[in-house]
């Protein structure tokens, strides 16, 4: 199995905007003292192991970021910072907002959501 083709053009560091957002959120929350980076690394590592157990070897692309987000959600739940039911409700509110917003207009949550 070939890992890479040498000399191919360098891809951008984040292939999707949400990868960058999840990354920044994780760094920022750590810098604000909510957890240390080694605590994060341990959590993330455990998530990678768990994901590998469920779906086999990880390719370091979309699966890597899925594990990253899963680890972040788990950590924030554990620390009482983001309750899963509230996160789910907000996710649905964002989904509804996208579906209700005309194409090209900024998407915003309604007050009270």
């Amino acid at each position: 199995m070939t890992i890479c083709t040498p000399d191919r053009p360098e891809p951008p560091p984040f292939s999707e905007p949400w990868h960058a957002q999840a990354f920044a959120l994780t760094v920022h929350l750590s810098e604000r003292g909510n957890y240390t980076w080694p605590e994060w690394a341990e959590r993330f590592s455990a998530e990678l192991v768990a994901l590998r157990g469920r779906q086999g070897p990880l390719d370091g692309g979309a699966d890597y970021w899925a594990a990253w987000l899963g680890a972040l959600e788990g950590l924030l739940t554990e620390r009482g910072m983001a309750e899963p039911a509230v996160v789910e409700r907000l996710k649905e509110a964002w989904e509804a907002a996208y579906l209700a917003t005309p194409h090209g207009a900024p998407v915003q949550l309604k007050a009270g959501q």
Binding site: M1, I3, C4, P6, E10, P11, P12, P13, F14, E16, W18, A20, Q21, F23, A24, L25, V27, H28, L29, E31, R32, N34, W37, P38, A41, E42, F44, S45, R52, P57, L58, D59, G60, G61, Y64, W65, A66, L69, L72, E73, L76, M81, A82, V86, V87, E88, L90, K91, A93, W94, E95, Y98, L99, A100, T101, P102, H103, G104, A105, L109
Partner: protein, 210 residues
Amino acid sequence: MPHDHHYHDHDHDHDHAVLPPEPALRVKALETLLTEKGLIDPAALDAIIDIYQNQVGPQNGALVVAKAWADPDFKARLLADATEVVAELGFYGRQGEHITVVENTSERHNVIVCTLCSCYPWPLLGIPPGWYKSDAYRARVVREPRAVLAEFGLALPEGQAVRVWDSTAEMRYLVLPMRPEGTEGLSVGELAALVTRDSMVGTGVPKVPA
């Protein structure tokens, strides 16, 4: 967990905003909640993204390597205390708190990996490439480094040992590759242009001057 029935790469009729993928909505939900709680500053998130998307990358590490090639005193200090020396060049901060530089010689080639997750010297190399984060690399480079390096097109002489350095959240490594022959008289800037990202991870060697 795939949840793609709302992905809008199909073309039937709709006039609303394009719905982002499910994980993107989860991230937005987290951001909304944490902002409401006053736990995050959205402007700080944008600043972090800008740094890693646009400012930090292997060009930083390449400058360090080129300076080490050009200046024996700099090199000696770099190998003794990389963290402090690269900080003097302005390369410090996240994931750069503890950096060790390991020098390639004709007797030993060095390779870095993070078997735990994806620890990497961000201030010097930026965000790691996909392959550095893949199981194919993380697990195998420890077990069969020569085979993995061969897949990168790197065939090492039999007599050159390979040492694999496992990065952690506390210690990160940078490989100081061997200076290519035929580079006498080049400026630091010209030398830096020969230093590839892979050569500083140990999965490649520097370019040779054209």
